[in-house]
């Protein structure tokens, strides 16, 4: 049980793919213009990661070491293609928005990294969990990034959510005559906000370890 808890904690916080490993920045910066875009691409990536980790783990005894990378890529590409087709068929509006970034999940190095570093050596359940949690760690970060950029850039939240959940509509957070702040939408805004998020995570981590240290030292000092 504690193994699974470790995997979860590791994926979501300690080794978060975006703010700690800083892997797969291309989609991270490109699709985080709104919460909806970021969240849905995050979930699609998480799905591919869980599935590819599970598949590689199940097949790991039958994958010769020398050709493991081509096989991994093949597995990931096949799964991504299936996700791409599924988006096209059932979430067509979103498919039009995310466009090229769904196929590009293949090239997101975090996917291959988890397959190589974890799934190739661990059991199926643990590997699937690792893939899913790493994917959710990524989703959480880019969703926050997307929400922040959307708020700064156009003063709304959840615009385009009706493509995922029919009947919902965007929330106008800032006054409707908010002119929009372009840097939120353009790439530099993504870099700056991501930098702030990495700093915030490091600060929280630092504070937690400081607290642990003082707690450990207190009885000795008393």
């Amino acid at each position: 049980m504690s193994l699974y808890r470790d995997i979860t904690h590791n994926s979501l916080w300690k080794q978060n793919p975006i703010v700690v490993q800083v892997l797969g920045l291309c989609p991270t910066l490109a699709v985080t213009t709104t919460f909806t875009n970021a969240f849905s691409l995050g979930l699609a990536t998480a799905f591919v990661m869980a599935m590819s980790n599970g598949a590689v783990s199940a097949l790991r005894a039958f994958i010769p070491y020398e050709i493991r990378i081509p096989v991994f890529i093949l597995v990931i590409a096949a799964l991504t293609t299936m996700v791409d087709l599924a988006f096209n068929a059932w979430l067509h509006d979103l498919y039009l928005v995310l466009g090229i970034f769904i196929p590009l999940i293949v090239t997101n190095c975090i996917v291959l990294a988890r397959v190589e570093a974890f799934a190739a050596k661990n059991a199926v359940v643990a590997s699937t969990l690792d893939g899913a949690m790493m994917g959710l760690g990524l989703t959480a970060v880019i969703s926050v990034l997307g929400a922040a950029r959307e708020l700064i850039g156009q003063g709304t939240l959840f615009s385009g959510l009706e493509m995922l959940v029919p009947g919902t509509h965007a929330l106008q957070i800032l006054p409707a005559d908010y002119p929009g702040f372009l840097i939120g939408i353009l790439p530099p805004g993504a870099f700056i906000l991501l930098g702030l998020m990495i700093a915030a995570r490091n600060w929280l981590d630092h504070r937690a370890s400081q607290r642990q240290l003082t707690q450990r030292n207190q009885p000795a000092a008393a």
Binding site: T33, F62, I63, P64, E66, I67, P70, V71, L74, V75, A77, A78, T81, M82, L85, A86, N88, A89, W90, H92, L96, G153, Q154, G180, L182, I185, L186
Partner: protein, 238 residues
């Protein structure tokens, strides 16, 4: 069961089994890779066929929905997607590939031509347009189908991104007559024409305005020939 006998010198000197030859390893690896390729390709094929009807339906719907934005569905009664002719790449429309013209009719009477056009000179490249042109030379409506204009700045040419939801910028073209295009009035106000453009983002508006003016002139001039051609045929410019 006796205790394992320590290996004697003789046993140790037995030659180890010959390592697999390079050829054997290569063939084995290739076969394994082939098996993976075939099985995952099969998986993709299954998904492809499972999603095919839904994808075709959504592409069809997408097309009808887009056409519906420039031409309401209750204004015509023919099967619009089937009543189409092919246009060659025409510079007058700004197109570099062959496209289709859909011909809307009501009770056999010509109602409108729905066609694509493009502005090559948007702020960040090509702006795709869809126009509905009435036989009397009015531009019934136009929509931007694709663009890469700056988000929040030039993208108001797309009514979905336009902050003015009451009367989006693109709707000022609704019902505009070809006379304006003939008289040289089909320009943004900054260029001495009649159409508004947002301050600070004139380039996107100018691109759309000029392209639609050119397309309207061309379509009006050729509309009789376009309506007369049997469905499915290719239009040839004389």
């Amino acid at each position: 069961m006796s205790d394992p006998v320590p290996p004697t010198d003789q046993e140790l000197s037995v030659t180890p089994p010959p390592p697999d030859s390079v050829a054997r390893i290569s063939v084995r690896t290739a076969v394994i890779l082939l098996i993976y390729t075939v099985s995952f390709t099969a998986l993709m094929a299954v998904t492809y066929f499972a999603t095919k009807p839904a994808i075709e339906a959504s592409v069809q719907n997408e097309k009808l929905r887009l056409i519906g934005e420039v031409l309401p569905q209750d204004t015509y009664d023919n099967r619009l997607l089937d009543d189409a002719i092919t246009l060659p790449p025409l510079p007058a429309l700004g197109l570099e590939t062959a496209t289709k013209v859909y011909r809307a009719r009501r009770g056999g009477q010509a109602v409108a031509l729905v066609l694509e056009a493009a502005a090559p000179d948007g702020y960040s490249g090509r702006v795709g347009l869809l126009l509905a042109v009435a036989p009397d030379g009015r531009l019934l409506a136009q929509r931007v189908t694709e663009h890469k204009e700056t988000p929040g700045l030039g993208d108001y040419i797309d009514p979905k991104k336009d902050k003015n939801k009451q009367s989006p910028w693109i709707t000022q073209f609704d019902g505009a007559g070809v006379d304006a295009a003939r008289g040289g009035n089909w320009k943004v106000k900054k260029d001495g024409g009649r159409f508004d453009a947002r301050a600070g983002a004139t380039i996107s508006a100018r691109a759309v305005t000029n392209a639609s003016g050119r397309a309207l002139l061309w379509t009006t001039e050729h509309q009789a020939a376009l309506f007369a051609l049997p469905s499915g045929r290719k239009y040839e410019e004389k």
